[in-house]
């Protein structure tokens, strides 16, 4: 049973997020701000993920899994929209984030990708950017944004690129810890906690904890849930068909952490939201006692799912 069916069947709610005047949104990140507003950052891209599932009878010219950018523009461009939802999870306000023009992009992946929304000393969109070098080096970036709720305009007001102490090509999918400003969970095997108050990240903890069967990757924010932290992570099975064309399956798990961020539990079985082979959760928030999770479907559609508290409690119990 997928999580949407389970949640809606027990009183939850599913909300498709369709950004007007775009081809569709993806990988949304839900967050409850200090005013209690339900905000969601929705990623909007200029490409389409073409993914033929099942027996792959109808692949694209470039295989069963391909990012189809415009044919005369090889860039994969991301823009971000922040929407506000009412309590029925309907969009009431929507605006594109006006980003600062700090440099000319010099790599094909353009923009801040898979940004998670948090509020620490201000609102931040935190994602990976790969357009500042000519070979696509990826680093997490913190974009501080102002949100004018009267006019519903969202503007980036400053940006910090987070460097890391060790050499690496691409840092991405760090999971912000909502109630620990500038702290992130970077890895799960073992848990690596990073602090990035300025432009250099420091490892502040390395936790052995329990070892997930499969490498767990970010993921939603880490949020407080009673006496524990929880987050939704994903795992990937990458494989190739007989033509050596790449394909993949993404599945998710609920992770449970103690106060010291030791991983103390993980869903024994991976789950799907809608039984799509590529789904991706980058947001979670507690709302009126229930859990809101936001996920992208095949990189082409965005949803927020309200999961009743009883289901979350069951999932935590199963994980522990």
């Amino acid at each position: 049973m997928n999580l949407v069916q389970k949640a809606v069947g027990q009183g939850g709610k599913l909300a498709p997020l369709a950004i007007p005047k775009t081809f569709g949104g993806m990988n949304p990140s839900v967050f409850i701000d200090p005013d209690g507003d339900i905000l969601v950052n929705v990623r909007v891209v200029n490409y389409i993920l073409y993914h033929s599932e099942n027996e792959q009878r109808f692949p694209s010219r470039w295989g069963p899994l391909a990012y189809l950018h415009p044919e005369k523009d090889q860039r994969l461009v991301t823009e971000n929209y922040v929407v506000r939802l009412n309590s029925n999870l309907e969009i009431t306000d929507c605006a594109k984030v006006e980003m600062l023009e700090l440099h000319q992009p010099i790599w094909e992946f353009v923009g801040l990708e898979d940004a998670r929304l948090v509020y620490w000393d201000d609102y931040y969109l935190i994602g990976v950017r790969r357009d500042t070098t000519n070979n696509g080096v990826g680093r997490m970036e913190k974009s501080k944004v102002s949100i004018d709720k009267d006019t519903w305009t969202i503007k980036e007001i400053s940006r910090e690129r987070i460097e890391v102490p060790s050499q690496s090509y691409c840092e991405k999918n760090w999971m912000p810890i909502v109630d620990k400003p500038f702290h992130f969970v970077k890895w799960h095997s073992p848990i690596e906690v990073m602090k990035a108050e300025g432009t250099m990240a420091q490892q502040v903890a390395l936790k052995q904890g329990i070892q997930p069967e499969k490498d767990q990757r970010g993921g939603s924010q880490l949020i407080r849930w009673g006496s524990v932290y929880i987050a939704i992570t994903h795992e990937v099975d990458l494989f190739k068909n007989y033509l050596q064309q790449k394909d993949g399956i993404y599945r998710h798990r609920l992770c449970v952490y103690d106060d010291d961020l030791n991983l103390v539990g993980i869903s024994p079985e991976s789950f799907s939201f809608l039984d799509g082979r590529i789904e991706f959760c980058v947001g979670a928030a507690e709302y009126e006692g229930d859990l809101l999770v936001s996920f992208g479907f095949q990189d082409n559609a965005a949803f927020v799912l309200r999961v009743p508290r009883s289901i979350v409690e069951d999932m935590i119990a199963e994980a522990l």
Binding site: A18, P20, F23, G24, E55, E71, K72, I91, T92, C94
Partner: protein, 189 residues
């Protein structure tokens, strides 16, 4: 601000969550996104319709492949993908005329006149015209005749072009086609 009709979409996706590989439910979700011009989202669900319905829902699969082509066409600058989707429809149900018409129209828009003419002629030989589950812009054989008439003029077959246009005027055709036939005849005679 205008808010998209999320409720309809929501109920359709919830239905889908109970039976996620059902071609008909995937098609309904795709249509709902398509109607709102959310063509990236529609692509995913049309493609699932095709992949999971290939053995059980041939008409739905056929229409989905053509709708995929239309979604990519509306996103602009994806000609290889548009033509690939149409070609898949042709090869999936080769005895239906609609995808031949789409291929001819595709080449007409690219001004590939010989290709347009060839696809229009091939489509004219396909006999199966049973109704499809959704409109695919094909109103009958005269659509293929129109593509043939247009392209014939550009490949040195003026007489054939004129006579085909004149035959079209004698047929019961949609007003936009009649207007286009008259405009073309006025230019080439």
């Amino acid at each position: 601000m205008s808010v998209l009709p999320q409720m309809t979409l929501e109920s359709l996706v919830v239905d889908l969550s109970h039976d996620p590989f059902n071609p008909e439910l995937n098609f309904q979700v795709a249509q709902a996104y398509d109607k709102e011009k959310q063509t990236a989202s529609a692509v995913s669900f049309y493609l699932r319709t095709a992949e999971y319905g290939k053995d059980s829902h041939p008409s739905l699969v056929y229409v989905s492949l053509l709708k995929l082509a239309k979604c990519f066409e509306e996103q602009n600058d994806r000609l290889h993908t548009v033509s690939n989707c149409i070609l898949q429809a042709v090869s999936y149900l080769p005895y239906r005329p609609e995808a031949y018409f789409w291929m001819a129209r595709f080449h007409e828009r690219q001004q590939n006149w010989q290709e347009c003419y060839t696809w229009a002629r091939m489509g004219g030989n396909q006999a199966i015209n049973t109704p499809l589950p959704d409109d695919v812009d094909y109103h009958g054989t005269y659509c293929l005749m129109f593509e043939r008439a247009v392209s014939a003029w550009w490949i040195g077959r003026k007489d054939e072009s004129v006579s085909t246009f004149q035959r079209l005027l004698e047929m019961d055709i949609a007003p936009e086609y009649r207007q286009a036939v008259e405009d073309n005849l006025a230019r080439i005679i």
